[in-house]
């Protein structure tokens, strides 16, 4: 089953439904999509029979009732009167308005351009020809033009959407206000049904109810004079029996060509002929073309509506004219209609009495009623039609306007106060009729707007006086002739400056709609200047006490002030002061102690250097032997001597030269007697080094001994080179020396030399003599190589600085002998009785040490004395 999506709520509905089952919105358009209407283009005619469905229920019923009445269908416009039944139907249709939203009331349907025309009524002259003034005559003259145009509105009449700036929601119908002022000072306003889109009235027959628009001059937007209005005007003229009136409504003689009284109004005055009800429904047959209906409506404007004059209108005080005014004259046509014919108005009032009107509170009605005074004044200024003296200001309005100064003067000074009573009286009169003839069960539409139609013909003086005898509402009283002139002048000036909308000028009835003082609190709070300031523009014009735009942002009260002073207790204050002193002391720079010993320090260094150089140099180069040689030999030195003595002859001893060039003097002095002893033994030597500078040092050392012992390279002495890898290299050499040290750079196989014959592993060496000045290297060789040596002796020749760290290895038995520094060398040489380098260095060494000791002692003593003296002086300075 096909589904259709609701345009409002978006929910899916069966295709067979016309309305959404969730939100009751219409799912399918009533008519085919219409072409958009371009500005300036006349609306295209549509088949109004198709628009029947769009009519609200109450209108549909009204029309149906009208159809039932004989003679009205054919010439609905000619009847010109609305029977009582019609009016009853009209009002009854209002009750059903909620059920059938799309039904258009008959009287409304008659307001189509086609039906509303002034034609047979003869408009002696158009308002324009006569010079503008009479807007009703203009409406009347313009109706023929508009009637020719094919309205695009649905069935009953063609309503057009005029420009509007605002709308008054009346339920199904709305009043729209065009703020554009015209000569009369009134803006155009329209009445019609609201579209879904706010303030967008489209000439869409399918969706939009027809509108009737009235320009300021009293004519419709397109010159169409609604029937009721034309009838209204004719009725005010009190003559010219309307030719378009229905035969049933004999007394509906309101001219419709010129200011025709609406049918519904004319019908009030004529009769409540039930047959007149058909007038309401004339436009009536849903399937009839709209044009025909509008024509009929035009023909039977007043009579069509005469019979439908509601009771409430019939009860209104009437002037001499017939159905001229909305308030007062409404009664006339009702009365007139009632007298000769069937009790139309009463019936109407019974059946179709606007309950909506009855339900309206009197005060609200009073506030919502338009400014009658404004209307009257404007109407007075409208040029009347010569041919139709009836055209122009209705009598009731005209007389009232004549008597306006009197009444208004009396009213205006006390307008704020008398407003409510004036309006209440009007409303009472309005509500009285519905109350009397309240038989309708229909709920009248909520009319919150002012009456927009004005009778063309001026009412009689009596009517005017009758109307203006009561207190004028504020909205009417405030708009005097001067106001209209001013508004017109302002409009003109505005028009000159801006061809578009005239800012600020509102029609009188719009002004009346603004919140008046009666509604606003009569005793406004005196807020100072704001109260005295009176607004001049906008919807709140005339009111005082309006808050300025920026008042919301202004602070309305004084901000709370807080004490700046910090509240602290005595203990906190003490702590804070203490902290402050501490911080101040930190920030305070300490006095720098001037260093006055920069020069002495440098002198001291130089002195030390010079003294040492002199002592050592002199003793060295002089070759003195002042200092006696030691008599006691270190045990480790003796052990080393013993170990070497125990070596087998013709063996190969591995010499490892792992000392730095800086300590080469001490090391060479300590190693010379050992190597000499080995050479004396006839041992072959193999030199290896695990430091990069070792081979060079080995070369230097061996060259110094060669002169004494004439060692032949590769015969008694072999240099194995550099062994990289640190402990890994030592481990590798210890594990497999032939693989670790294979060939020289030149490619010579070192292990093939005579000095290394029968050497296949580290254990094949007779001994290992390590020459080092670093304890780490000694430890590495001891830990890595000793296990591979086995029983072979490991002899260390170390510097004096490495002795403490190496001695444990000697004392643990891992090292068989150790020669420590110059002392060990001297001892070794003395034991071997072979003085050498160590013996030569002994005096220099002794004197150097001695002087170093002296300097240290002297300096220490001097430091103690100076420090003691400094401490003695410091307390004196502090004191």
């Amino acid at each position: 089953m096909a589904e259709i999506r609701c345009p409002m709520c978006g929910k899916s509905n069966p295709d067979s439904l016309d309305e959404c089952q969730f939100c009751q919105a219409r799912l399918k358009p009533i008519t085919a999509p219409l072409d958009p209407l371009q500005p300036g283009e006349p609306p295209t005619k549509k088949n109004t029979s198709e628009l029947e469905k769009t009519l609200p229920g109450w209108l549909r019923e009204a029309r149906k009732a009208e159809d039932d009445n004989t003679g009205f269908e054919e010439t609905p416009a000619e009847t010109g009167s609305v029977s009582k039944a019609d009016s009853t139907d009209l009002l009854g249709g209002l009750a059903d308005a909620q059920e059938e939203e799309e039904e258009v009331p008959d009287w409304l349907s008659r307001l189509s351009p086609d039906t509303v025309k002034t034609p047979d009524r003869k408009t002696p002259s158009t308002p324009k020809e006569s010079g503008s003034g009479d807007w009703l005559s203009e409406i009347r003259h313009e109706t023929p033009d508009t009637s020719e145009q094919a309205p695009t509105t649905p069935e009953p009449e063609s309503f057009e959407a005029g420009p509007e700036t605002g709308s008054i929601d009346l339920g199904e119908s709305t009043f729209r206000v065009d703020d554009t002022a015209d000569e009369s000072g009134f803006g155009s306003f329209s009445f019609g049904k609201a579209d879904e889109e706010d303030n967008q009235i489209q000439a869409d027959d399918s969706e939009v109810q027809p509108f009737i628009t009235f320009d300021g001059d009293g004519s419709t937007a397109e010159g169409e004079l609604p029937s009721w209005l034309s009838n209204f005007a004719e009725g005010n003229s009190d003559q010219e029996p309307s030719e378009s009136t229905e035969p049933e409504t004999a007394d509906t003689s309101e001219p419709q060509a010129e200011g025709e009284l609406p049918n519904w109004l004319s019908g009030f005055s004529a009769d409540e002929n039930p047959a007149q009800d058909t007038a309401l429904e004339t436009p009536a047959a849903p399937e009839e073309p709209l044009k025909e209906e509008t024509q009929k409506a035009e023909e039977s404007q007043v009579p069509a509506f005469e019979g439908e004059l509601p009771d409430w209108l019939s009860t209104l005080p009437s002037d001499g004219e017939q159905g001229q005014s909305f308030t007062g004259d409404a009664e006339e046509p009702v009365q007139q209609a009632a007298s000769p014919s069937e009790p139309g108005p009463e019936a109407v009032s019974k059946e179709e009495s606007p309950e909506w009107l009855a339900n309206l509170p009197s005060e609200s009605k009073a506030t919502e009623l338009p400014n009658v005074r404004a209307f009257t004044d404007s109407l007075k200024k409208m040029p009347t039609d010569e041919s139709s003296p009836d055209v122009g200001l209705p009598n009731w309005l005209g007389d009232e306007s004549a008597g306006e100064p009197e009444g208004s003067d009396a009213v205006q000074p006390a307008a704020p106060e008398s407003e409510p009573p004036v309006e209440s009286e009007l409303l009472d009169r309005l509500t009285a009729s519905p109350a009397a003839g309240d038989g309708a069960a229909q709920e009248p539409p909520d009319i919150t707007g002012p009456p927009f139609f004005v009778e063309e013909k001026a009412s009689s003086d009596e009517d005017v006086e009758a109307i203006f005898s009561m207190d004028m509402p504020d909205w009417l009283s405030s708009l005097g002739p001067g106001d209209q002139e001013q508004s017109q002048a302002s409009d003109d000036s505005a028009g000159e400056s801006d061809e578009s909308l005239v800012p600020g000028d509102l029609p009188g009835w719009v002004k009346a709609m603004r919140p008046v003082e009666a509604v606003v609190d009569k005793a406004p709070v005196d807020s100072g200047e704001s109260d005295r300031k009176v607004e001049h523009k906008g919807p709140l014009a005339g009111l005082s006490g309006i808050l300025p735009a920026g008042s919301a942002s202004a602070p309305t009260h004084k901000t709370q002030t807080y004490a700046i002073k910090l509240q602290v207790s005595d203990a906190q204050q003490v702590n804070a002061s203490l902290l402050e002193r501490l911080l101040a002391s930190e920030a305070k720079p300490r006095s720098l102690s001037t260093s006055a010993y920069v020069m002495p320090q440098r002198f001291l260094r130089w002195a030390i250097a010079v003294l040492l150089i002199l002592v050592i140099g002199v003793t060295t180069f002089a070759g003195t032997s002042v200092v006696p040689l030691p008599n006691l030999y270190p045990n480790e030195t003796l052990a080393a001597i013993k170990a070497i003595n125990d070596l087998a002859a013709d063996g190969t001893v591995l010499l490892v030269f792992d000392y730095n060039p800086g300590l080469s003097g001490e090391m060479e002095a300590a190693a010379t007697p050992v190597v000499d002893h080995l050479m004396l033994k006839g041992m072959k030597l193999a030199a290896l080094s695990s430091v990069p500078t070792g081979p060079a040092l080995t070369e230097r050392f061996m060259r110094s001994l060669q002169d004494s012992y004439d060692f032949q390279p590769d015969q008694q002495y072999v240099e194995l080179g550099y062994l990289p890898g640190g402990s890994a290299g030592v481990l590798g050499f210890a594990s497999n020396p032939l693989v670790t040290i294979g060939q020289t750079i030149s490619g010579t196989n070192l292990w093939a030399s005579p000095a290394l014959e029968n050497i296949k592993s580290l254990g094949d060496f007779s001994a290992l003599v390590l020459l080092t000045d670093e304890p780490e290297i000694a430890r590495t060789w001891i830990e890595q190589a000793k296990p591979k040596l086995g029983s072979r002796p490991l002899i260390l020749v170390v510097s004096a600085q490495a002795e403490p760290m190496v001695r444990p290895y000697y004392e643990s038995g891992q090292v068989q002998g150790m020669v420590t520094g110059l002392m060990g060398g001297v001892s070794y040489e003395k034991v071997n009785a072979r003085p050498g380098l160590s013996t030569r260095y002994w005096d220099a060494f002794s004197f150097g040490i001695f002087f170093a000791e002296l300097m240290i002692v002297a300096g220490g003593l001097w430091s103690l004395i100076s420090a003691w003296l400094a401490r003695r002086t410091q307390p004196a300075e502090k004191e």
């Binding site: 200092v627 800086g662 100076s866």
Partner: protein, 206 residues
């Protein structure tokens, strides 16, 4: 991906070398020896890489004209000269030996002499800068050792040379040294085990 592989290699090699000491299997021994040989080769290459790095650092210093760029210039010049001569003449050439004995040994010997002079100067000013018991004890110890190391010109001191100095050097100092050596040994063992177990990863970046 790098870190797991590096860690696995380090652990495997460490275990093999360690097990080679306790399990006298020929295959383990041969593998261990081979791995050690690889380490020796890599160490030699590392020395070369160090030299190249030194060269690049000082070259950058010269290029950016940093402070001390002149000394870097001399260093690079000497490096290149020695390297080129060593490649051309060979490390055993007399010229190379002359350069070494004329430059390297005197320079380092001079540095050691300056160290000695500086220590004497510091000892002289020690009491002035810091006058406390430990300073006195330190200075006395230094004097005693010095007196026991070298005899006085007028003759050795009998007690100092025969009793005090041997006691200080062989008892007090040796005891301290033993403790240090034990700590070093234990630390080395722990470090090795941590590397073998993968707890420490000094390789592979982070």
């Amino acid at each position: 991906m790098k870190r797991p592989i590096a860690t696995a290699i380090a652990i495997a090699i460490g275990l093999i070398v360690l097990l080679g000491y306790f399990i006298p299997l020929p295959i383990l021994t041969s593998v261990r020896i081979e791995l050690v040989q690889w380490a020796i080769i890599l160490s030699g290459v590392a020395v070369l890489v160090g030299v190249i790095n030194l060269f690049s650092v000082h070259l950058k210093k010269i290029r950016e004209k940093e402070k001390g760029a002149v000394y870097s210039l001399f260093l690079i010049a000497a490096l290149l000269l020695t390297f080129i001569l060593g490649i051309i003449l060979g490390p055993d050439h007399s010229t190379m030996q002359l350069m070494f004995e004329s430059v390297v040994i005197p320079v380092e010997a001079s540095l050691m002499a300056m160290l000695a002079m500086t220590l004497i100067y510091a000892s002289i000013r020690l009491l002035r800068r810091r006058s406390d018991l430990m300073t006195v004890v330190f200075l006395i110890t230094v004097l005693l050792v010095l007196l026991g190391t070298a005899p006085l010109p007028f003759g050795p001191l009998p007690i100092v040379g025969d009793l005090i100095r041997p006691f200080i050097a062989q008892v007090l100092a040796a005891a301290g040294a033993r403790g240090i050596l034990l700590g070093v040994a234990l630390g080395t063992l722990t470090t090795g085990l941590r590397i073998v177990f993968g707890a420490d990863r000094p390789y592979g970046g982070r």
